[in-house]
């Protein structure tokens, strides 16, 4: 885009600390690349400018039509490309889901993941309620998906799982979710079912009978899976609530504003909502955080599969692969 000669001049100038060219020379260098400046209101009121506009009017009209034509063509090509990409991904995903099927066998799942360099300790997923589904089928589907994910986590020996669902529907049915998850785990594990504890922020947790569960596990599988259910109100709104409390305390003189530090906010939020997840799985076709708690997602690896629709095992597996291959540099 920039002429190579100009790039060379610029780089030579830069190496000498910008002393080679004066500012005027630099502007002359840049001038052919600068876009046309926007008209000032004073210039627009100028009659000569209006006359120019009328003369160039035809040219501008043709240009605009030409651009519209190119726009339509480019978008047509793009939507064709998207359709082809989606079809291709659907075929590939179907094939890999057959190949990578979990067969409800925790040992198979654990086999898949045990060679990975590292596993997340806290996995998080975003689920979407199907709003077009009639009656209670949307909720039933959500609970089914959540139970599947919990079963896979338990098989892969990931001790903590958090499920974010924007509308909060899942939060209102915690006992039902717990029952469904226990059933699914029993179907997967048989007698060695790990215990499940489900909670939501500011709600008491529901646990399975711990003593029975713990005594039954013979090998070194996961003993307990803790599941946290989140909704939109645990995102920005909980930060707003924290601000309200802090403002209240400051008005009463209990704290001063210099006491509000990152550590304080972090401690409060991890205490009342949840800690930071290591990996966030998205089951939709694109990456959009639909209200996921902003504070906790700081260093979370975000994984999605392009053009994927729905919850299936191979998105889970690919997410774990991506997490194992990711390099954390911590700013260095």
């Amino acid at each position: 885009m920039f002429k190579p000669r100009d790039i060379e001049t610029y780089r030579r100038d830069e190496k000498l600390g910008h002393k080679l060219l004066t500012p005027e020379e630099r502007i002359r260098l840049l001038k052919p690349y600068l876009p046309s400046p926007p008209l000032h209101p004073s210039e627009q009121a100028n009659r000569r400018a209006m006359e120019n506009e009328q003369r160039l009017g035809v040219r501008r009209l043709i240009k605009r039509h030409w651009h519209l034509l190119v726009f339509t063509i480019v978008h047509a090509i793009f939507s064709l490309y998207i359709r082809i990409r989606r079809a291709y991904h659907q075929v590939v995903n179907k094939i890999s889901s057959v190949y990578l099927h979990h067969h409800r066998a925790p040992d198979l799942i654990y086999n898949d993941v045990k060679d990975l360099r590292r596993l997340p300790k806290h996995l998080s997923v975003i689920l979407n309620l199907d709003e077009d589904a009639r009656g209670g089928t949307g909720l039933a589907k959500l609970i089914e998906e959540a139970s599947d994910i919990a079963a896979w986590c338990a098989s892969a020996r990931i001790p903590q799982l958090s499920i974010y669902e924007k509308t909060g529907t899942l939060k209102g049915y915690l006992p039902r979710v717990h029952r469904s998850m226990t059933q699914k785990l029993a179907a997967y594990f048989g007698p060695n079912t790990p215990g499940i504890g489900i909670r939501a922020p500011h709600c008491p947790s529901i646990e399975t009978a711990q003593t029975l569960a713990a005594s039954r596990i013979e090998n070194d599988g996961l003993k307990h899976l803790s599941v946290m259910i989140l909704s939109a109100e645990d995102g920005r709104d909980s930060i707003v609530d924290l601000t309200k409390t802090l403002a209240d305390m400051s008005q009463r003189g209990k704290i001063s504003t210099s006491d509000i530090t990152i550590e304080l906010v972090d401690a409060e939020l991890s205490e009342s909502v949840m800690g930071e997840p290591d990996l966030l799985l998205l089951f939709g076709p694109r990456v959009e955080l639909v209200g996921y708690p902003p504070w906790q997602v700081r260093l979370t690896e975000i994984s999605h599969v392009q053009d994927n629709e729905g919850v299936n095992y191979q998105v889970f597996y690919r997410g774990l692969l991506k997490y194992a291959g990711a390099q954390m540099r911590w700013g260095r």
Partner: protein
Amino acid sequence: MSDLYLSRIRNWFLSSPPAEWALKGLRETLIGALKQGPIPRHVAFVMDGNRRYARSHKIETIEGHHLGFEALARVLEICYKCGVEVVTVYAFSIENFNRPQYEVDGLMELAKVKLEQLIQHGEVLERYGASVRVLGERDLLSDDVLEVVDRAVSTTKNNKKCILNICFPYTSREEMTTAIRSTVEEYSKSSAPKSTPFSQTRITQKIMSKQGGKSEKSESGNSSSGQEPTHNPTESDDNEDSMSSTTTLYPDSPGRVSKHGSNNVTIYPNAENITAETIDKHLYTADCPPLDVFVRTSGVERLSDFMLWQCHQDTQMFFLECFWPEFGLWHFLPVLLEWQWRQKKKAMEERPRQRVKTA
């Protein structure tokens, strides 16, 4: 061997005048075509991968940063031509201070030099209405860099057409904490009494005196203990609660009355009025439109403490495999196209749903 010759021939061909003219025309047409559709108002870039690019091309890492700056110039030109209003770039994180000292110094030098250049071209920026802002925790910068930063920001302060936000040094958590702190500060300042003919002190004292002798006792207790109402905790707390109950009938009115003496009544704004928008207004990006597109290069799929609050709802995030110095129109074009396509789909979905709702 043949690859080397082929790339040289290709470069020679591409730099010849007809090819250049054709490419230029193609770029102009594509950008003009994109402008016919919806354009994101606020785009954020994480300029990642400079050092890896330098290593893979066997040049110095600081050279990689210089090439990254050139890529930034290219991207800014494209965004300006497309009509993007605000561009936010992640130049330097507070965590990056952990890097080796010579690298940090090199980056600071780069920033100083480029900002100096910007100041020198002040009237060009003014003609295009472009303003530059530097967001982040200024206390961590050394004085000479800070001085250049301040000058650059104040020179371009009045340009309103488009804004470049350079996040330097920036961490999103620090931004959110600062926003919380300034919100709390704002709500802890007693609101200036409005000049109405009715004196608020007289009204509150009238209400207080109506509540009987209990108020007088706690009033004397408060004024003797000074700031902290530790004596008669139950009575004074009851008093404060009843005070707030009478005044919270009108949620917008000042909610808390605190007595610091028998004459002064300081009224605090009601903390219940704090919403997400309040915190939004205290962020560094307060007057910018909501974030539409988030682009991160070099294949890393994390947010890394950048714009956590801003990209939490509708922002579409793109993680690209290329390194930042390679980023140009041909990488940005699919991003914009996909965003435009998604916006069209959203608009189409809204229309049938509205029709169903009204039917």
